[in-house]
């Protein structure tokens, strides 16, 4: 018997039974296949019109900042304004995401955009966002060849471009969207990152300090035009 089998034997001994019957196994597999949500708090069951407001309220409580762009065409100006306001450089590392790439960045020629995974010297990272969760003010970022996860953690400042129509009530909703994107097959990317505010620690005398290892600043540009990205 392998170690794994030994462990399973001890588990069954503790539970006072032998291997599960085929019927029980089928039931358990059905439970997984159904992946039913459990209790959803009332707070998160907000109508779509209120979701964005709840999301922003919860996110602002933990230090996320917001700007609003009427459409994707307005994003470059909003980003430049944020960088100027905080004295941040105009050198950006951006996800090589096709949709993000179709934003008319050249209307702000001052922005110097490099694309790829994060490099140690990068100070500002710009990424798209798969979904947001209003219940807790959380961004849901999903890794891929076009969306390297290092951009969510290495640069000092993380700017996220979020479509208002991608704001959901709950994390369950975000996973439902992910499942729907890959019906019937494996749907989990290498990494799903839930991000709720800038990095922080309370390890020194329980004082909250921002920017422990992840980004010190988290800024979200919400694009209201719920049409498809350019």
């Amino acid at each position: 018997m392998s170690t794994g089998e030994h462990i399973f034997a001890r588990i069954r001994a503790g539970l006072g039974r032998g291997p599960l019957s085929a019927e029980t196994v089928a039931q358990l597999e059905s439970r997984i296949a159904a992946h039913a949500p459990n209790l959803i708090p009332a707070r998160s069951r907000v109508p779509e019109a209120e979701r964005l407001a709840l999301f922003e309220q919860m996110a602002e409580e933990v230090g996320t900042t917001f700007a609003h762009a009427a459409s994707y065409a307005d994003v470059p100006a909003a980003l430049l304004a944020y960088l100027c306001e905080h004295g941040l450089p105009e050198q950006l590392r951006m996800s090589p995401d096709a949709a993000l790439g179709r934003i008319p960045w050249n209307v702000e020629p001052g922005l110097q955009i490099a694309r790829g995974r994060a490099e140690p010297a990068d100070l500002v990272g710009v990424t798209p966002c798969f979904a947001a969760v209003a219940e807790t003010g959380t961004l849901v970022l999903v890794s891929s060849g076009e969306r390297p996860a290092t951009l969510n953690f290495m640069p000092d400042t993380h700017v996220v471009i979020l479509a208002a129509s991608d704001v959901f009530g709950t994390s369950e909703d975000a996973f439902a969207k992910l499942r729907a994107a890959h019906p019937g097959g494996p749907f989990m990317p290498r990494t799903v990152n839930f991000v709720t505010g800038p990095s922080r620690t309370a390890d020194i005398e329980l004082t909250i300090v921002r920017g422990a290892h992840g980004p010190r600043r988290l800024h979200v540009i919400v694009v209201r035009d719920s049409g498809a990205p350019p």
């Binding site: 459990n38 290495m154 990494t191 620690t201 300090v209």
Partner: protein, 476 residues
């Protein structure tokens, strides 16, 4: 770490005389997680229902643990990862070492993991020429101080800013840092700067897991710093070390338990980062580890099933029980002498390190029940502690004097007439000793009581004597 649980009383005594520690404990009590937890729970009306649901999910999973672990393994393999089953701490250490050797690792960055502490991974890696680098700020600080963690969530909470500043000054000189910093912000900034290159240079990143998902072969970590993420995404090998009871059936089940975790631990609505990792990097990914290994550790968990300890397998390591425990608040985490302090430590340490070593841990409880009240997973902690006391009594781990004392007292309690007479004598004697003062400063055989408080004097006759006298009067 060196086990000192057998010296709990001496540890506790030292702790209560340690001014720095007591200052830290006071900081926790007044400005810490307990009040924040209460506020967070008040903000979520469904919290208690969510606890019930989480208990159901976890009990269901434990009742079918073999199925869910097998499914988890299958999914990890399907995603290109590997699973390593380890029955004991020794096997887990050796597995991780051999993986590090396979990666030709000189350094391994580490996220916070109580299981890694449990198997004493760090000293073992060091002995074998691999430098483990703690990345969680609290763990980094205690690594510099060469101390064990004193709390599950904030491992360095027993140290103050001055001590941390001294540690940084001493250990960061090698990086050209010569200024002694005084502000928390600056200290964090210096640690961030120094750690950054270590993340990049590491060959292996080791993280724990808050949960494992059977449905997708996913491991989940919940952190506030982002250190666990940098640990797993930058090196070429990611090793997850997890005990077997962490598995849950689906992502939706994890969403439910995640609603309880941060609120119970720190009063946050959510930790800053919750990361779901599934396998190594995918074709086309620009970053991520080339190899993904999940080391699954039993180390006694399977033996807890079907026993009075089974409920403790529901623990999600939130630390709420520590924060609200009057004993922990008096003596801090190190007094408990091993990896898990507080009420959960009292419940499970005797299993891991033996009752002879750890008997004082379930002993040192007033059974106030606050731990069970705040536990998001409704673990009956006082009951489990009482179970250990029963074991200690039966196996004669409890000192003879204590067992004899209870046996003698019980002998009287089972004989009402004798008890009444003995009680009457004792009461009269104590009342006489106290005179009109109404209290006693010193009572023979009761130094434990009178060292810290007076003993109020009995009224002079027992209730039983007076009730009988009144009944006679009524009858006559």
């Amino acid at each position: 770490m060196k086990i000192t649980s057998h010296a709990f009383k001496a540890n506790a005594h030292a702790a209560m005389g340690n001014r720095t520690l007591r200052g830290a404990l006071e900081r926790m009590e007044t400005g810490g997680f307990s009040a924040a937890r209460v506020a967070a729970v008040a903000r979520l009306p469904e919290f208690d229902e969510l606890r019930d649901r989480a208990v159901e999910i976890k009990n269901h999973t434990l009742a079918h643990l073999d199925f869910y672990l097998e499914r988890f393994e299958r999914e990890v393999l399907a995603q290109g990862g590997q699973v390593h089953w380890c029955a004991t701490a020794r096997e887990a250490r050796e597995t991780i070492l051999s993986l590090c050797r396979k990666a030709d690792a000189k350094t391994a960055t580490k996220g916070k993991s109580m299981v890694a502490e449990e198997i004493a991974l760090n000293p073992f890696l060091e002995q074998n020429g691999i430098a483990p680098i703690e990345t969680d700020l609290g763990e980094y600080v205690i690594q510099l101080a060469d101390q064990p963690p004193s709390h599950i969530i904030v491992p360095a909470v027993h140290l103050n800013k001055e001590q941390i500043a001294d540690l940084f000054l001493k250990h960061h000189a090698q990086y050209g840092k010569t200024e002694r910093l005084t502000e928390a912000q600056a200290l964090v900034g210096e640690a961030r700067e120094i750690m950054r290159q270590k993340y990049i240079d590491a060959d292996v990143g080791i993280t724990g897991a808050n949960f494992l998902i059977a449905e997708t072969g996913t491991t989940i970590i919940a952190t506030n710093e982002g250190n666990g993420d940098l640990t797993q995404m930058l090196p070429k090998m990611h090793i997850v070390i997890s005990s077997i009871e962490k598995v849950l059936p689906t992502l939706e089940d994890a969403c439910t338990l995640l609603r309880l975790l941060a609120r119970s631990a720190t009063g946050q609505e959510s930790t800053v980062y919750t990361t779901f990792s599934t396998g190594p990097k995918r074709p086309g990914d620009l970053d991520g580890p080339d190899e993904y290994h999940v080391v699954l550790l039993d180390n006694g968990r399977s033996g807890m099933l079907g026993t009075e300890l089974q409920d403790a397998l529901r623990c999600i390591r939130c630390g709420a029980c520590l924060n609200d425990c009057p004993v922990y608040r008096s003596v801090g985490g190190h007094a408990y002498g091993w990896v898990y302090p507080g009420p959960i430590g009292a419940a499970i340490d005797p299993l891991f390190i033996g009752l002879e070593e750890a008997a004082d841990l379930p002993g040192a409880s007033s059974f106030c029940g606050k731990c069970e009240e705040v536990c998001p997973m409704r673990i009956p902690l006082p009951n489990i502690m009482r179970y250990w006391r029963e074991q200690a009594f039966e196996r004669e781990v409890t000192p003879l004097s204590q067992r004899a004392g209870i046996t003698v007292w019980a002998w009287f309690a089972k004989r009402p007439a004798l008890y009444r007479r003995a009680a009457g004598i004792a009461v009269a004697a104590l009342a006489l000793l106290a005179g009109r003062k109404g209290r006693l400063r010193r009572v023979p055989f009761a130094e434990g009581w009178t060292a810290f408080r007076d003993l109020p004097a009995p009224e002079g006759r027992t209730f039983a004597q007076q009730w009988r006298a009144q009944a006679r009067k009524r009858a006559s």
